[in-house]
């Protein structure tokens, strides 16, 4: 009833773990894979990255700010970690780096069922945000990655651009199998006692409740123009949030900060969507993009 197909990837249900959330060790991914329709790993780079110093995460009233700084043990070591993946849901490996580096990372991960290109990390200059704001560059990277793999690839889009659809089009031209919208919004919190920003990197990315309306709008706009599937992400906490994304045009949704409320969030969102479909006598296909038809 809840099965979705994205490219040739089959998800048992439309909930997916977002990148950077419980995605550092294979055992935490295994844990989520038992309930979610798919899991995305923490973004990996060719060289190890310690990331920024703590504080790297801070809660605010309306969500969470983070500047973790793409910490990861390197593609090589992370691939060893992923050898113990339990395969209970499609595994999507998130890749980050420069235009030259990203395509080189693909071959490390034979266990991946797909790749997500993180071209949108808002707080690591030189990789991410800059790449992700140039549609030609996005197109080129997708082409180069596509040459290396026949597995589906998704481009994670940043909301920190003037026109997200233009970037989405670049991904589509480059052969991406889908786009994920959105990554975090550039944001800051200041410690008024100390008179300085709280995060060690000063600027971070806002996720959670606050960004949901922005994300829903992005998904809506992307769905209008793109032919490839859109995966929604940003502030999903309840099944109602998830349904909103589906109606805006998302084929599946990713849940990140919502895990703060417990790993059972996947189950409650899945059950909630099911109940909704039964109550309204609708299929998942009916709901996807519904807001465009009404």
């Amino acid at each position: 009833m809840l099965e979705v197909r994205i490219g040739d990837m089959v998800l048992e249900n439309p909930t997916v773990l977002a990148s950077g959330i419980m995605g550092t060790t294979v055992s935490s991914l295994n844990r989520i894979a038992r309930v979610a329709g798919g899991v995305v790993t923490k973004s990996v780079t060719s060289e190890p990255r310690e990331g920024f110093k703590n504080p790297t995460v801070v809660n605010v009233n309306c969500g969470i700010l983070n500047a973790v700084g793409l910490s990861n043990p390197s593609a090589k070591l992370f691939a060893q970690e992923l050898e113990r993946y339990n395969g209970e849901a499609p595994l999507i490996v998130s890749l980050a780096g420069s235009e030259e580096e990203i395509p080189e990372l693909v071959s490390f991960f034979p266990m991946a069922q797909g790749f997500e290109l993180n071209l949108s990390c808002p707080h690591v200059g030189s990789m991410g945000a800059e790449l992700g704001s140039d549609p030609e560059l996005v197109e080129n990277i997708c082409r180069r990655v596509k040459k290396r793999t026949s597995k589906p690839i998704f481009v994670k889009l940043s909301p920190n651009v003037t026109d997200i659809v233009e970037i989405g089009r670049g991904a589509e031209r480059g052969g991406a199998d889908g786009v994920v919208a959105i990554n975090t919004l550039r944001a800051m919190v200041i410690d008024v006692e100390a008179g300085k920003p709280i995060l060690s990197n000063r600027i971070g990315g806002l996720s959670g409740k606050a960004i949901k309306p922005v994300a829903v709008r992005c998904v809506y706009e992307l769905f209008e123009t793109l032919k490839i599937p859109v995966i929604g992400c940003g502030g999903i906490i309840t099944w109602r949030d998830a349904v909103e994304f589906l109606m805006a045009g998302a084929s599946a949704v990713q849940i990140g900060s919502g895990v703060f409320y417990g790993t059972s969030i996947f189950k409650s969102v899945i059950e909630g969507i099911k109940d909704f479909l039964v109550r309204k006598n609708l299929s998942l296909e009916d709901v996807i993009g519904m807001a465009h038809r009404n």
């Binding site: 419980m22 844990r31 504080p55 995460v57 910490s71 043990p73 417990g262």
Partner: protein, 251 residues
């Protein structure tokens, strides 16, 4: 939350207790994320409802030793599950700075408690007067005070079967030996053991504190775990740093 340091007590030359004029709604075993001005934010257990006790082991903890009364620090939390109270005879086992959360625990459990507390040399003991009022076996590795040896030596000589619950906090190698001992004695299910892992968010999202093989988050499902869960885990074998890279424990 921003809290002023109300009182500062040097427990020994390298350990400080910072008291706040605020009681954290908490249970023993829970921790807070403390943002030290100019340094990093680190996880520290509550050593009472309104204090933390820190041993200087690096940059940030060293700086905490020098924080003056009246300094304002940023605190998130309390986080984590904490210890659970049980009826009956209880044994509390602490090694080194691991006594910090156990001091709060001992105050909170109030009665029917024996304590085993080991350090390297007598100078390291903290909360000495307060603990001496309880039923405590003090242990030093060099024999400078109390029993000579390690916590394990003393536990091996005790009748552990008479306890309904055993609480443990201390260095990871001590915990590893204790897990082996408790397994031999078939008392793992009756134990609550507090462990440490590298933390960033403290709220269960970043994944840096997860322990293999079940992916349990030390910041949410821990830091206190049942011994049976830990016996079959990475505890005592390896841990990860901030990048997620594994490091095998030497020893």
């Amino acid at each position: 939350m921003y809290i002023r340091i109300a009182e500062k007590v040097m427990e020994n030359p390298e350990t400080v207790t910072l008291y706040f004029s605020y009681e954290f709604p908490s249970v023993p075993g829970q921790f807070v994320m403390v943002d030290v001005p100019g340094k990093e934010e680190i996880p520290v257990s509550l050593s009472s409802e309104s204090s933390i006790t820190v041993k200087a082991v690096g940059d940030t903890t060293q700086k905490m030793l020098n924080l003056g009364k009246g300094t304002i620090v940023g605190i998130r939390g309390p986080y984590g599950n904490g210890f659970k109270a049980v009826e009956g005879n209880k044994l509390v086992v602490g090694g080194g700075i691991g006594i910090a959360p156990l001091r709060y625990l001992v105050r909170w459990l109030e009665r029917d408690i024996d304590v085993v507390y080991g350090v390297k040399t007598v100078k390291e003991f903290i909360f000495f007067e307060e603990l001496r009022a309880k039923n405590v076996v003090f242990i030093t590795e060099n024999g400078s005070f109390g029993e000579k040896g390690t916590v394990i030596d003393i536990l091996e000589s005790m009748d552990l079967g008479k306890y309904d619950q055993i609480y443990v906090c201390g260095p990871e190698m001590m915990i590893a030996s204790i897990l082996n001992l408790f397994e031999r004695e078939k008392i793992l299910p009756l134990t609550q053991i507090s462990v440490e892992r590298y933390m960033k968010c403290g709220i269960g999202i970043c994944g840096s504190c997860c322990i293999d093989p079940f992916g349990l988050r030390v910041c949410v499902e821990g830091p206190v775990f049942n011994g049976e869960i830990l016996k079959n885990s990475e505890i005592g074998k390896y841990h990860r740093n901030g990048s997620g890279r594994k490091y095998v424990w030497k020893n």
